[in-house]
Amino acid sequence: MKILRDHSTFLAVVVFLIAFPFLMALLDGQSIGAMLAGQSGNSKFYQGLLIEIFILGIFALSYDLLFGITGLLSFGHAMFFAVGAYTAGLALKSLKLPLPQTLGLVILAGIAQALLFSIVLPRVKGITFALVTLGFASVFHIVIMSHELNDLAGGDVGLQNIPKPDYLDPAAQRLTFYFVALAFTILVYLFYRRFVDSPTGRVCIAIRENEHRAQMLGYNTFYFKLVALIVSGITAALGGALHALYQPIVSPVTASLAYTVNALLIILIGGVGTLSGALVGAAVFRLLQFFLDKFFGESSSFILGVVYVALVLFLPYGIIGTWRAHRLEWQAAWRARFARVATMLNRKT
């Protein structure tokens, strides 16, 4: 019972997300049977939007572990995502591997890239690390869209016609895909929560706060940063693989600086270093993008910019960060307001 109470928000969100496809079908007047059969409609459409949010959320979570928890600023994080997406796409398309082997390869690719980034870890700190990782990612970005690799990776158009397993086809089996993506997001989130509370995660936080002190206490900070980099890299690569499975094209844009900045923006919106903020931020980010685009068309990016500036101005610690900082006083204020109303009502009767 205590577990239920302590995690009531988390559980409520999970229940809502499980019920979501059915609720959407009901709202749309679609029969549950038709929805289950994968017939198009609002339910199917919004399942797709949520799948995109889950993938973005996984990517942003992995960035939050690196930047928000461990304090490593990377401008090359999109490379993990792109490496995962291209590895998955090429393994399925060119190597004709089944899905489990493909995911194994994706994990290996994520580890390999984390090791590549870690070469410079002991030598560069702060903004220099950000720029070096940007360098790595830019090289990858250029290579993946080069003419020489046109036949393999599809050049600047991207990787197309990736064969998808029948049971996970994003068009025909949208609902299955939705639940797989949801389950994976929840798993990653719970794993991250535990990681941050583990002795290792606590040291990562200490490194963010004051690396020199952590070293003087006896922590070889390199290994902790390496662990964070590997965990984050695998997660982002798996997010990329999910992206490759869901999207019709894997675009080289996924390796660009803009894609890393999306992750940064998402955790700034949600709250840096809060983990749940990465998921909330991903939802806000994608939904804003979608609805502003729908209602304002071309000028939407201007409005989006204004909204982001406002968010940063008024919620400097992000949605979750600001909520955590002010939760107690806000709750106290509401309770006081209720109490005042209650006494007023009592006086009347």
Binding site: R194, S198, P199, E209, M216
Partner: protein
């Protein structure tokens, strides 16, 4: 204190030297620290005390010379290895985790030398011994009531105590304290003196101290090394140092002029 007994040397420097360009901040300093003593290094501002301290724990790389801990050369040991040998180091400018609670600061210090640092899938509460050790140290330094507060919200004096607690948590053999009373209000200094005394006595620890506060140094130290312009000017018991004419004049500022004339 029994001076006749030849006590074991726990930490020593041999001809330790640091040059910053043309400036020789530490000029071939050799010092021997005996086990279980409180040894203070004093000297005017710019005498090279803190640089010397930084050379001992490799926070600054020496130009020449060696640092020997229990017979082992530790001169260029990576920073994180220093603590594993049993050396705790505090800094003149408070060096803590400002946004973490007092408890978490000390708990991290207690966890550092354990073997559970890479248990990614266990909650840190699962390893109760670190938390118990943290509480023990927090009680010892007198911060029990503030244990749940973020370290940055503590008054300066309490932050100094917290840092002492953090280096105490892994139970080191020697504590290197760089001006533990710096920036402290005068009325809190006796508290810090009491704490250092208590750590020394109950824990059988060696304490190497850099201090400005002469009253503190004279009352607490077994040995005193006086540094002046990067060199050792005098060494001895507090009584010997107090009686030393050269030191007397150095603190009056006269010798500074004489030495620079040489």
């Amino acid at each position: 204190m029994s001076d006749d007994v030849i006590m074991e040397i726990i930490l020593e420097s041999e001809q330790l030297r640091k040059e910053f360009g043309a400036l020789v901040a530490v000029n071939d300093v050799s010092i021997k620290i005996r086990r279980h003593t409180i040894h203070s290094i004093i000297g005017a501002n710019g005498a090279g005390k803190t640089t010397f301290f930084n050379l001992l724990t490799n926070n600054v790389e020496p130009t020449a010379g060696r640092v020997i801990f229990k017979g082992r050369d530790i001169t260029r040991l990576p920073l994180h290895r220093i603590a594993h040998l049993g050396i705790g180091r505090s800094f003149q400018i408070t060096n803590i985790f400002p946004n973490l609670t007092v408890l978490e600061n000390v708990r991290l210090a207690a966890q550092a030398l354990g073997k559970d640092n890479f248990r990614l899938l266990d909650h840190h509460r699962h390893f109760q011994r670190y938390e118990e050790r943290a509480w023990q140290v927090i009680r010892q330094v007198g911060l029990t009531e503030r244990a749940r507060m973020p370290a940055r919200t503590l008054p300066h004096g309490d932050q100094r105590k917290l840092e002492v607690g953090m280096i105490l948590a892994p139970d080191p053999e020697i504590l290197l304290l760089d001006e533990p009373t710096s920036g402290m209000a005068a009325e809190f200094v006796p508290e810090m003196i009491g704490l250092i005394r208590q750590i020394h006595r109950t824990g059988q620890k060696t304490i190497l101290l850099v201090e400005h506060n002469m009253g503190l140094v004279m009352s607490i130290s077994d040995y005193i090394t006086v540094m002046h312009q990067g060199q050792i000017l005098a060494e001895g018991t507090p009584e010997q140092i107090a009686a030393n004419q050269v030191v007397q004049s150095a603190y009056l500022g006269r010798l500074g002029w004489q030495v620079s004339e040489q």
